[in-house]
Symmetry: C2
Amino acid sequence: MRTLGSVAIVGAGQVGTMVGSALLEAGPALGITSVALYDADPQAAAASVALGGGDLVLPDPASVLQAQVVVLAIPVTEILAWLEEFGPRLREGGALLDTGSSKAAVVAAMARFVPEGVHAIGGHPMAGNEASGPSAAIPGALSEALFVLSPCRPDREALEIATALVAACGARPLVVEAPDHDRLLARTSHLPHLVASALAAVAAEVGDDLPLTQALAGTGFRSTTRLAASDSKMVAAFVSANRRQVEAALREFRRELDRLELALESGPGALEEVLGAGRVGHALVLGRA
Amino acid sequence: MRTLGSVAIVGAGQVGTMVGSALLEAGPALGITSVALYDADPQAAAASVALGGGDLVLPDPASVLQAQVVVLAIPVTEILAWLEEFGPRLREGGALLDTGSSKAAVVAAMARFVPEGVHAIGGHPMAGNEASGPSAAIPGALSEALFVLSPCRPDREALEIATALVAACGARPLVVEAPDHDRLLARTSHLPHLVASALAAVAAEVGDDLPLTQALAGTGFRSTTRLAASDSKMVAAFVSANRRQVEAALREFRRELDRLELALESGPGALEEVLGAGRVGHALVLGRA
């Protein structure tokens, strides 16, 4: 396996801290010489280092460019801005990986702004939860997690370096073309984020009934709306970057709601049938059918 | 505390088995002399008894009427049918409690079909999950769980008996008028059930992309769609029984979706704002704000 050298992570939140911790731990064996963190909020970077997310805090955004491997762990909108500003200045022969939840916009920006001599590739670690900030990093969450890799152009070395990084995190790499990733994530993640938020808003808009609503909100509500507690900026960024696919998923979702509502008008038997189809679909997607 | 005597539970599924187990355990101290189970599926009743859900299986539905306390743990549609058929034949001085997730239709049927001399009251234990059948009973799940009691008419003794039953289960009684229960549960539970089903259906309808969808469906998808695995007949029954409120909740939910979609068109900043409001609402409902 190739040696990775110095790593710099941009963004010391939940994902940046988890990736940094994993790389720092696996570091010596893989030739990782240092894991530096940069965050627009220096306190977040310091907190992350204190939690083992890296071994030093970088003072300014440009200092990231000195590292052999750069990992972007910031909201997708900021990744796009970063690529435009710093992409052209990345060091020749270095590597670049991001961790955003939308991939097509990211790899397009990589292809546009990152010189061919830099080994850039899109990435999406499928780990973490609705919490945010360095203290929300979950030790070991990357272990055995799926880590999607979406190439931005033919570059075998980019894929090799990224695969080594993913392996260093203990995660499982899976190469998925960006458009495929985005089409499916719109349905398995981005739409659920919007739906969780809408459900939470409906339950909160009960006026004087709020205390009783709080008492009656049970595990089903918690589960269905958990994603509504996610960092709004981060979610807005990846959903907006994947807007066309999310809009298509919303149209499909509205059709399913129509179907349920029509069945509800027809009676319990009709509704049971539509819910039964949803139950079968659920089992299918989770590989239980 | 009053002594409860013989108990018969109609329905040996997850809820019936959990209630039966709790009553059997607390039984001697509370004067419960036996916990008999009836289920249209005799094998389910036998399985429940084997799991400690009761101490005997009743052979036919009418034998339930011999018990001093009858607990209905069947889908709401079946509760309504049971009340019409057996309600008038309940023994004078006995007690009746149900466990359905919609209350207005149930207490209306109790008021109509159960003689005044029987101490009937609506109930809804807020425990259990998406699994079904006696083997899905979760030991201890009723302990500290909220158990809603919805009176069907002024009857202090019905409330006392039900409170004793709830206490025997280790749960916390909360008196909520049926219309209030149904209005709020439509938003915290019934709508989320429909939404989870619709989300699962969207994700399952990806054709050839199913294997990749399976790989990419993460914890967010699992959480948001967990309720889609619920027993379709049971969900169809309580949603249909609460149709008007569920339809109102669906209208509110569609308005929230419209708001999100409009914001998505405007850009990440606008979307972040609407998602931020959903996040605040989520924290409010869960008592974290």
